[in-house]
């Protein structure tokens, strides 16, 4: 295996892994404020890509308009999902909430199939230009967009949680929802904000990845699952771990596909997930914590 192809696998792994990281970030934010895993997270990613494709195709919008529009629409849908399905279920057992988010995820997927059909679509890359040679490998300009936007999101989140009242309030909800509400923090609003945010980062992930890997109504299942694997790898609830976990899974998957077998590529993330659940459920970057009773 020449070094150049090794490098090529790393480059494409990092690109895809960055979007897994964004998906993982979405899981983490909703988990932090609500304590539930949102099984519809992958659908936000799918919708990000699909809505951008179809606002260009049907709406005739140029890419620089279609992309932010799609992200905004999905963010609004995130709010809708919380208001219509999660909030009415406040106080219900975790099993019921999980089932509701599963229901929402297949509703979104089915809806996308109904409206957009079953075909696979590509979004044009964000900027023109040929691949950039890099030590024998080649780097797509879109990869730079992907990594750049992921880093920008991380920085923005860091500022948000450290500097703004809303961000601090969200962290307070994460630590102790009851105490947060006693402190006058409106937990309902925080939950809605967290759904909006995770829809936003999910859609961003979907829209920046669509020019590279193509998109279809059913890509959300695998993207969501891999995002969750990334989330567990990084330590559930830890935003930076989530992105790091995404990068690790993306690179391992890319290397596995290259060196082992491309047919089993999609299984790699789940083998990692299962191995982690068995060996180190607190994740690589998480600390073992006592359960509250």
């Amino acid at each position: 295996m020449p070094f150049s192809s090794f490098l090529q696998f790393i480059v494409s792994g990092v690109t895809v892994g960055a979007t897994y990281g964004l998906t993982a970030l979405g899981f983490t934010m909703i988990f932090n404020t609500t304590g539930i895993i949102n099984f519809a997270q992958g659908e936000f990613v799918m919708l990000g890509g699909m809505l951008a494709v179809f606002s260009m195709k049907w709406g005739g919008l140029p890419l620089p308009v279609a992309v932010p529009l799609s992200v905004l629409l999905v963010t609004a849908m995130g709010v809708g999902v919380d208001r219509l399905t999660i909030r009415p279920m406040r106080g219900k057992p975790a099993v019921s909430l999980v089932i509701v988010t599963i229901g929402v995820s297949i509703l979104l997927r089915g809806g996308a199939m109904l409206i957009f059909g079953k075909d696979t679509h590509a979004l044009p890359p964000f900027s023109e230009g040929a691949a950039i040679p890099l030590g024998g490998a080649s780097l797509l300009p879109q990869s730079i967009w992907v990594v750049g936007i992921t880093l920008a999101v991380l920085v923005a989140m860091k500022v948000f949680f450290d500097r703004t009242i809303t961000g601090k309030a969200m962290l307070a909800c994460a630590c102790d929802r009851k105490a947060a509400s006693l402190m006058g923090i409106n937990v309902d609003v925080m939950v809605t904000v967290s759904f909006a945010f995770s829809a936003l980062v999910g859609a961003l992930g979907g829209v920046i990845l669509a020019p590279i890997t193509l998109t279809a109504y059913d890509v959300g299942i695998l993207l969501g699952l891999k995002g969750f694997a990334a989330c567990i790898l990084g330590g559930l609830g830890n935003p930076f771990g989530a992105v790091a976990g995404g990068l690790i899974i993306g690179v391992l998957e890319s290397l596995g596909a290259g060196f082992l077998s491309s047919g089993y590529k999609d299984a790699i993330a789940f083998v990692i997930l299962l191995a982690l659940l068995f060996l180190r459920p607190s994740g690589l970057f998480g600390k073992a914590s006592a359960d509250r009773v």
Partner: protein, 336 residues
């Protein structure tokens, strides 16, 4: 009270047996194969309901246990020429042992880890079904699986197979009911509401969760092997994530923690698409809507709906009958 319930449940079982026995003679022949599939799903959802409805643990990979057994029995009887009963037994054991390997470490964790662990496991198994072409024949599927034959008899007609499947479903129903009304059933329901309260009463939470997970996988394994020797052909598509969701939906629609509900949910969701050919392509939307709406408006599922309907009917009947209305008003303010 308890003796009344005992009699009531015996009557319920007798009625169930009677319906099973009569159905193939009352319905057109075409329905027999539909009902066989419904019976397989009834077994699947009973098993999943023990895990999900009673113990409160979610498996999103139950189609994997269903498929493991179907493929194992199919491959052993076809490629390796095992007798069918031996193939079925091996398939069921494989499902159970795999569940133990997956479940024992995962169930020690709290929260949604089992849901995600089983989901990931389901995807891996699905990929293996597709990729291990030498063993499974890949996406095109494994053909030429023999029909069930045991004790020198081959169950070749649908009517014969119907009785095999629903007879098995009936036995599994009774066993599940007996479990539910025992020390173990109470322990599972205790775990569902509060693991800490259950554990400080001496209930070994991890062990019970692992047991019921393996048991539900064994139910899935039985259904899977019976499926393989009914359709004589298995392909990965029957055991995808979508199939796992289908089983979850049957449990939720039928009613969590209700075995009757599990059977009703399975039969309803198998027969419904037969009537509504139009929804064929969009059944995924229907499942999503059922999940969200049931959890929101009828968390006890069809079982709770039936209970409510009965309550409404009883009170409507009382209101109409003047004698009992007088009796009711006389008894007002007193506890019945």
């Amino acid at each position: 009270m308890s003796s009344n319930r005992g009699k009531g449940s015996a009557a319920g079982l007798a009625a169930f047996a009677a319906i099973i026995a009569a159905a193939p003679f009352l319905l057109p022949d075409y329905y027999q194969s539909v009902l066989i599939v419904a019976g397989l799903f009834a077994i699947l959802s009973m098993g999943l309901n023990l895990l999900m409805g009673y113990a409160g643990q979610i498996s999103l990979g139950h189609a994997a246990f269903y498929g493991l057994s179907a493929y194992a029995s199919g491959i052993l009887t076809t490629t390796f020429h095992w007798p069918v009963p031996a193939g079925i037994a091996a398939g069921v054991v494989l499902s159970g042992v795999t569940a133990a390997l997956i479940g024992i470490p995962t169930l020690k964790l709290k929260g949604h880890y089992l849901a995600m662990g089983t989901l990931g496991f389901g995807v891996i198994v699905y990929i293996v079904f597709n990729e291990a072409v030498g063993l499974t024949a890949g996406p095109s599927g494994l053909t030429g699986i023999p029909r069930l034959s045991a004790f020198g008899k081959t169950f070749s007609t649908d009517r014969e197979y119907y009785f095999v499947v629903w007879g098995t479903a009936f036995v599994l129903f009774v066993l599940a009911r007996n479990l539910v009304r025992s020390r173990m059933g109470r322990a599972l329901r205790a775990i569902h509401t509060s693991e800490s309260a259950a554990s400080v009463l001496g209930i070994d939470v991890a062990r019970y969760k692992a047991f019921v997970f393996v048991l539900s996988a064994v139910y899935a394994g039985i259904a899977g092997a019976l499926y393989a020797h009914f359709v004589t052909f298995v392909s990965p598509g029957s055991f995808s994530f979508h199939a796992s969701i289908q089983i979850v939906t049957m449990v939720v629609l039928g009613g969590m923690a209700s075995l009757w509900g599990a059977v009703a949910g399975a039969v309803f969701l198998t027969v419904l698409p037969e009537w509504l050919r139009a929804i064929e392509d969009y059944d995924i939307l229907v499942y999503g809507a059922i999940l969200v709406l049931t959890m929101r408006f009828l968390p006890g599922g069809l079982a709770e709906g039936a209970e409510r309907a009965r309550g409404t009917l009883v009170s409507a009947f009382r209101r109409k009958s003047p004698a009992s209305a007088a009796a009711a008003s006389g008894a007002e303010g007193r506890k019945p």
